[in-house]
């Protein structure tokens, strides 16, 4: 699916101002946004989700225009069909696993699920190996379990695109390798395009088809790995590392 982002946003906090000028087009299903913290990665995906409103520009996912300042389009986050997994997962602390995952199945003031909806939730819980934990509260779960709940909660809405804000940073380093493989498998299974934020080169190597390298609030470079390895030869890790170090050498981080 084609994702088109061309936005400007100035954020002010007391005496400091930060301007994001992000512009990119991505056609691959696994886009990794790489860059140092404070370079605007998170603001970009929050703009895509509708949690932050850009000052101007356009955001398009597939055929759907989510935001277009010239045309006066600004869909509320509720209508964007965007799944969002927060860095610390933002699971509702007062709801158990089943209620968290099924949260979006009811959209009004009452949250209680009926039997059909519970079945939908439990089918997904089984897939994520969470069924035995359905009555647990988030604080009773490990980091890896919380992340699976957050992914299931986002995917149950069948979003057009899944945004992940540093999905691995809250996890035990020993767990990260396995979770990277799981994310790739998940993307295959649900066929949902993902944008993943990270500042860990290992994530880029494992996940990326397209790399967007951020610096100072701008997309400094866009690299499609398929164009980098036209004959499929060479060691992927080495090529990714070269791209990343080149990007940092040109002007520094």
């Amino acid at each position: 699916m084609k994702i088109r982002v061309d936005i400007r946003k100035t954020l002010r906090a007391r005496d400091r101002a930060f301007t994001l000028e992000a512009s990119f087009v991505a056609e691959d299903d696994r886009v990794v946004v790489f860059g140092p913290s404070g370079s605007g990665k998170s603001v970009t995906i929050q703009c895509i989700a509708g949690l932050i409103t850009p000052d101007e520009g356009i955001i398009q996912v597939g055929e759907r225009v989510l935001f277009d300042s010239k045309a006066g389009i600004d869909l509320p986050p509720q209508l964007r069909r965007v799944g969002y997994v927060f860095q610390d997962f933002a699971l509702f602390p007062h709801l158990n696993v089943e209620e968290n995952v099924g949260f979006s199945l009811r959209r009004g003031a009452r949250g209680a699920l009926d039997d059909t909806q519970k079945r939908v939730v439990h089918d997904l819980l089984r897939l994520f190996d969470l069924e035995s934990l359905s009555r647990n509260l988030p604080r009773q779960l490990s980091g890896g379990q919380r992340q699976r709940v957050a992914l299931a909660r986002a995917l149950i809405t069948q979003p057009d695109i899944l945004l992940l804000d540093e999905p691995l940073s809250a996890l035990d380093p020993l767990l990260r390798g396995r979770v990277r493989a799981e994310l790739v498998a998940l993307q295959d299974r649900f066929q949902v395009p993902m944008i993943v934020i990270t500042h860990d080169p290992a994530d880029v190597e494992a996940l990326a088809e397209t790399i967007l390298i951020y610096r100072h609030g701008q997309v400094a470079r866009r690299v499609r790995l398929s164009e980098l390895e036209p004959d499929g030869s060479g060691v992927r890790g080495e090529r990714v590392n070269r791209v990343l170090s080149e990007a940092y050498a040109n002007g520094g981080a």
């Binding site: 509320p76 965007v82 799944g83 933002a90 602390p93 009811r106 003031a109 986002a154």
Partner: protein
């Protein structure tokens, strides 16, 4: 003695109960708006809403008379359109107690709403849930303990209301004479036993409320 204490006690519970309900609805609504939306005059509105906490109750009572007295801005309209007045009625006492108790709900609710991580509301938005749904299923459930603690303090404050109530509702035994007014009357009339009894009842209720609200304010998640 128990019988003659029962009348002001029941009246006090009725007045404080309705006043707390009124303060709760208003306080939660205003607190939510102030905690979540930025608009010009926000700090001024916060100050006005906190004012009843620091102003002498007699001054509040005077303002209320200006508003709801028979010649007051609202009172005159009420009297001419419907033939009713709040002056010297238990409903008037409810209004006085509600205004005095309002800042306690408002302050606690605002702090409670502000302590709810905005990220939860953002997550609920991306999950397609309406703003009403977010309030009732996310924000309020995460804030209710703080709101309830403030509400209990407001109830205790409404129970003890004296000055504004006296100005607006008077001190009519059986109709507007609440516990604190009855204590004053008993002391003035030299009925020490009665005064002691009323004071002990009031103290016990207030201690129970403070103990309960203290427990609720401890964080849970």
């Amino acid at each position: 003695m128990l019988g003659s204490a029962l009348v002001p006690l029941l009246l006090t519970l009725k007045v404080a109960g309705f006043a707390t309900l009124l303060a709760l609805v208003m306080g939660v609504a205003v607190a939510f708006v102030l905690a979540r939306y930025a608009f010009p005059g926000r700090d001024l509105l916060d100050a006005v809403c906190t004012l009843p906490m620091v102003m002498p109750p007699t001054v509040l009572g005077y303002y209320l008379i200006v508003l709801i007295g028979r010649r007051g801005w609202i009172g005159e309209w009420l009297w001419e359109s419907f033939g009713i007045t709040l002056m010297f009625t238990w409903q008037g006492a409810v209004l006085a107690a509600a205004i005095v108790a309002f800042p306690l709900v408002f302050k606690a609710a605002r702090a409670a709403f502000e302590s709810v991580d905005r990220q939860f509301e953002g997550a609920a938005r991306t999950l397609g849930v309406s703003e009403w749904g977010i309030f009732f299923r996310v924000t309020f459930p995460l804030a209710w303990r703080g709101v309830l603690a403030g509400t209990m303090l407001a109830f205790a404050r409404a129970m003890g209301e004296f000055g504004a109530t006296l100005m607006v509702a008077g001190n009519i035994p059986g109709r507007t004479q609440t516990l604190s007014l009855a204590v004053y009357d008993a002391v003035q009339a030299g009925q020490d036993d009665m005064a002691n009894f009323l004071v002990i009842v009031t103290s016990l209720v207030c201690v129970a409320i403070l103990f309960g609200s203290g427990k609720l304010l401890k964080p849970r998640y």
